[in-house]
Symmetry: C2
Subunit: 682 residues, 2 copies
């Protein structure tokens, strides 16, 4: 901050009687700037101003917003790197540091302290060090050698982004980090890791490897990357909001009572909460610290007397929010967390943690304090997955808003795609624009996958200015996108014909559709898991020797993560029962590498098989079914009717009728007419 700006800030603070120091405000602005970039940010972009004062003047607001924009110009060495040799320098710096602290090697995972799907800029150590920006990967840096391990989705991207003179790019399924460690490190050498960034399970596995190879495996006190990343951003600050019962269906107190009962049955007195989504759900709060997902990064300790201690940055909470949250929720700063755990150990009470999601340092702190520790599955996960009636109603409403945006978009693309001038990127932006016109929108729920022709065949394709190409004529265009609404989260994929498409494309599209329909209309007994149903989505492809190499369905949160557990639909065995209230995606696909991709995705809710849902004469007791939530026409021009059977056709026409009847009354005349045609019976 220049002295001129600082002077102005001081004046504003005095004039408006805001009881904050200039340093406080300055730090806050920097921490807000370290939050997600605008396209990935959630919620009202100006809400952070309430963290300074609830009643400040428009002039002061304008001043603060300008200061934020300036702060946001900092890219922290994460983007638009001017010096192409920077990754070389960073690697050398790290290796020198390792020497200094007597480590032979160090592991740099992609994850943060919360094992999140998306991490804040502060935690983007892997990207900063290596240049790799994919969503899964691990680097291993030794004193004179370095490698990055990625899975099949990311080998090409890694090769494009990472300097292969510095890092060997290794396909995870060919050589595992474990076997690389064993091969490259000698006996008695020391491998370091940051105990905040690895789960208990993960460390147990790696320790075994090091033990058998007689390599020392050591937790570091500081992360070496943080030591050399001079302009590393702060941990982000974004305002926390509270969700009232009319959005959640259950108050935090009611939820805590449920969880307390579960813990009591397991004779657990304290559960240490390390998953931001569980805390968000249990406390009925949301934040915006990471991209696309309304998490506020922090930990919590739940006591089975129903009280909840949250460890997070107190600056994120306004008095107004605190008063809504209720008095039995206590906020403590991050730095109190480990000391509190240590004190818990003294009390000789039964403490539960989930080894699959808890950082090693938390486990280690509790263990050293002498706690009676045991692993339990995070009890919030299953409770959170089974949505309340109010949440389901919110989901339905969010899908109507999303449906309007999708209808506008599909109509628009139908009109303009023949021009040949649309690009993957501007189509994605257009869709985002239509969504942002709607009510209650908070932002996107993940980066839009907008793939034309061969890009559609890349399952995790993320369009960028560099990769974006024009929509290929006479091919397929695949768009997988979603939004976060205050009352629900959406995720939908449509595959569209651009120009004239081949018979093969239509056949394969219809096979994918048959799989989608078979799953959408299945009725199944209570106790059934997602793995039991997976084949329904695949057998129409298998019939012709085709398949897709991803799961069929993932859980979806209620204004929470677009990917959540514990239920899923996939080939891999999974014992989690599908229960009424769970929301899950139905997304079979087919991908012809280098040619085109097909995926048809709707979200569905698990419901009791009542006559109103099944269309049968009576309710089916002890049976469940899916209610499709997503409302968007499926491209009829790609359907080969001869491949569908009577029930398939009936489902499709019914679905389109629902789309039409729901959306038509909410849109203008031109779109109404387009919807009429797009949803006609086949």
């Amino acid at each position: 901050m220049t002295s001129q700006i600082n002077y102005e800030l001081k004046k504003f603070l005095q004039k408006e009687e805001v009881n904050r120091s200039e340093v406080y405000v300055e730090e806050l602005i920097n921490a807000v700037a370290a939050g997600p970039d605008r396209e990935a940010a959630l919620g009202n972009p100006d809400l952070w101003l309430t963290l300074i004062g609830e009643r400040i003047s428009p002039e002061f607001k304008r001043f603060l917003s300008n200061a934020l924009v300036t702060a946001q110009n900092n890219n922290y060495g994460l983007k638009e790197i001017k010096d192409p040799d920077c990754h070389n320098k960073r690697l050398i710096d790290l290796q020198n540091y390792l020497k200094k602290v007597q480590l032979t090697g160090f592991i740099i995972p992609l994850s943060d302290e919360y094992q999140s799907e998306y991490v804040a800029k502060h935690s983007q150590r892997l990207a900063w060090l290596t240049g790799f920006t994919g969503s899964a990967g691990t680097a291993l840096v030794l004193r004179n050698k370095a490698a990055i391990f990625v899975d099949g989705r990311y080998t090409i991207q890694a090769r494009n982004e990472v300097n292969t003179n510095l890092y060997e790019i290794i396909h995870l399924s060919e050589i595992s980090p474990s076997s690389w460690i064993k091969k490259m490190m000698k006996e008695k050498e020391v491998l370091g890791y940051d105990p905040w960034l690895h789960t208990v399970q993960n460390i147990a596995r790696l320790k075994k490897v090091c033990d058998t190879a007689n390599i020392k495996f050591r937790a570091t006190k500081f992360n070496p990357v943080d030591k050399i990343w001079k302009d590393q951003p702060q941990q982000p600050i974004t305002p926390i909001i509270h969700l009232a019962k009319n959005l959640t269906g259950l108050t935090s107190q009611e939820k805590r009572k449920k969880i307390s009962e579960i813990l009591k049955r397991k004779k657990i007195e304290v559960f240490v909460m390390t998953s931001p989504d569980s805390i968000a759900w249990l406390a009925n709060i949301r934040g915006a610290d990471v991209p696309y997902t309304p998490f506020s990064l922090g930990y919590a300790i739940f006591y089975n007397d129903c009280s909840l201690d949250i460890f997070n940055d107190p600056r994120k909470f306004t008095d107004k929010v605190l008063s809504k949250m209720g008095s039995d929720l206590n906020i403590f700063p991050h730095q109190n967390f480990l000391p509190t755990l240590s004190k818990l150990g003294d009390k000789k009470i039964n403490i539960g943690i989930d080894y699959n999601s808890t950082s090693q340092i938390i486990y280690e702190t509790l263990r050293r304090a002498g706690s009676k520790l045991s692993h339990i599955d995070d009890p919030c996960q299953l409770e959170k997955a089974t949505k309340t009636k109010v949440e389901l109603e919110g989901m339905r409403k969010a899908h109507i808003r999303d449906g309007i945006a999708l209808a506008k978009f599909l109509f628009w693309i139908d009109k303009y795609s023949k021009s040949g001038n649309l690009t993957e990127l501007n189509v994605a932006d257009k869709l985002e624009g239509f969504r942002r016109e709607g009510d209650k929108i908070q932002g996107l729920s993940f980066p839009t996958i907008s793939g034309s022709g061969s890009n559609g065949a890349i399952v995790h394709y993320r369009v960028s200015e560099k990769s974006s190409k024009k929509l290929q004529q006479n091919s397929l265009y695949l768009v997988d996108s979603g939004a976060q609404y205050i009352d629900g989260t959406t995720d939908v994929t449509r595959t569209l014909a651009i120009g004239t498409t081949s018979l093969e494309m239509k056949k394969n599209f219809t096979r994918v559709l048959k799989g989608h329909i078979a799953l959408a209309k299945v009725i199944f007994p209570e106790g059934t898991s997602g793995s039991q149903l997976d084949v329904l989505a695949r057998s129409s492809l298998w019939e012709r020797g085709l398949d897709y190499d991803h799961g069929t369905g993932h859980g979806v949160g209620s204004y929470l993560s677009v990917h959540e557990g514990p239920q899923r639909i996939s080939k891999a065995p999974n014992n989690v029962e599908l229960k009424p209230g769970m929301v899950i995606s139905n997304e079979p696909g087919y991908y012809k590498a280098g040619k085109y991709g097909i995926r048809i995705e709707n979200l569905v809710a698990v419901r009791k098989a009542t006559s109103s849902l099944t269309g049968l004469k009576s309710d089916l007791n002890n049976f469940l079914c899916f209610e499709t939530l997503t409302l968007a026409p499926i491209d009829r021009s790609l359907i080969l009717k001869s491949l569908l059977n009577r029930e398939d056709i009936q489902w499709l026409n019914n679905y389109h009728k629902t789309v039409r009847h729901t959306l038509q009354p909410l849109v203008g005349k031109e779109l109404k007419e387009w919807l009429q045609k797009a949803t006609e019976n086949i």
Copy 2:
């Protein structure tokens, strides 16, 4: 044996120059008589005579056969009990014996030393003691209390067979033996068990229960029931036969080489074989010691130099059979088994056993000897499950013979069922008779399930003289049966309309048929397990809120057990891949308690999805499909065509065409005409 008979025997032995003592022959006759009863026995019933001499006169044969019949009149206290109070006396005898040997209680499982599905008379301790003849159950006898634990299939049967003044009948899912032990026994009391009759896993579980309740858990040296069962039959002797390569496709040596390689990869030097089916498969031998399944009861030790030591009764092997078996297979008497295990322990080699199928005493003997023991899945199980080309060819031929018998039977029942005079039992006998007319028949593969009306709804119904009822008119008749042929094993279920059937019956029959067809025609990628496919057989029932409470498919042996693993098709997660050559049943059903039962079962073989099997233009690489082996018309009068889709109808008509084209050339004119009608297109 009377002195007169003994005198005659002596004369025969002298005259025919048979080098056997009278005592030897007499004991042999008693041991042969202790084999399965005629209806459950396998193979040539006169083959045992070769155990006395290969070339004896017809007169001596007649003499011996008569002696056997006399010996077989002994029922060992297992049947036709004259004294209704006998079970009371037996229980008191046992309780007195327990006192004598200072046990507070004793467990009597149904199983034998080999964990077989069917046990020899010698091992029917549970039936002898309690009167219970079901196929699953456990008794627990304390000094002043006794209970028998059965699952839902057997609660009614147990109540009918067992004196409830002596034994409490307990439903397994309500009270487990473990919780009963904890409740009924006091601290420091002593619970005994026979370490031959329980697996390592089973004992580990029970030991835990006893440990927590501070109850002593003690292996007995002798089985107390054997001590009080005065006329307990001997262990059975039945002749062993050798199967040549033209029946198995692989010599024993070739199989042993494969298994040796598997063990070497796991660094196992010796595998202790405790499953009679694995030994039968590996040595290419069969016996007939137990009902319905061609096992010879014994153990074996396999060394990874490919040699195999078999521990069995040497009297079962004729010189001719031994010479065919080859020189690297050695036969030792049973009593050498434990001493040999003890000696193995000295050698400090890696020994593998399968904890799921090995008796506790074997584990304990090895452990005490200081062996380096580890659990491995019995490697023969998977190899045995994937049939050779020759075995598959045998299976096909066996199913043609079985198909002829089934066609004769279905034609016969079509003709006579309207009379109203047929009973479940004489219908089952008639079917057995048609089967026994065929070539290469060895016997039945399990007791025929022949259930009319409400009896058809009892999934494990076993018809007896007592339960047999007349075929109910205007209802359904369900018959589940199978045979053992020297070249294959069959298992088939058909459900038939007797008189006029209701619309509901037809609807449900057609739904079961749709499930059967969906599974029969599925094409699936390599790596798929049976659990992944299970839903295909159920979803047409689920659509109307119906289901069946049993698995969809079990593995079937090649002239071995009609139920074999490791593959299966069921709701329960199971990671075993379906591999080319596996044979498995496809048997969805529906049961309306007290009314009727429906099941349609064919055996199928897993095959590569070649164009000749799929009917597609080209082979599907890396994909598999099922080839249906069973050849028998499905009752067309029960099918509602309107519920079938085009592909269903196509499958059915194709299947019936195959049945017709295969069987018609092999049967007489009248049956040919009936087949023509029974397999007409729908």
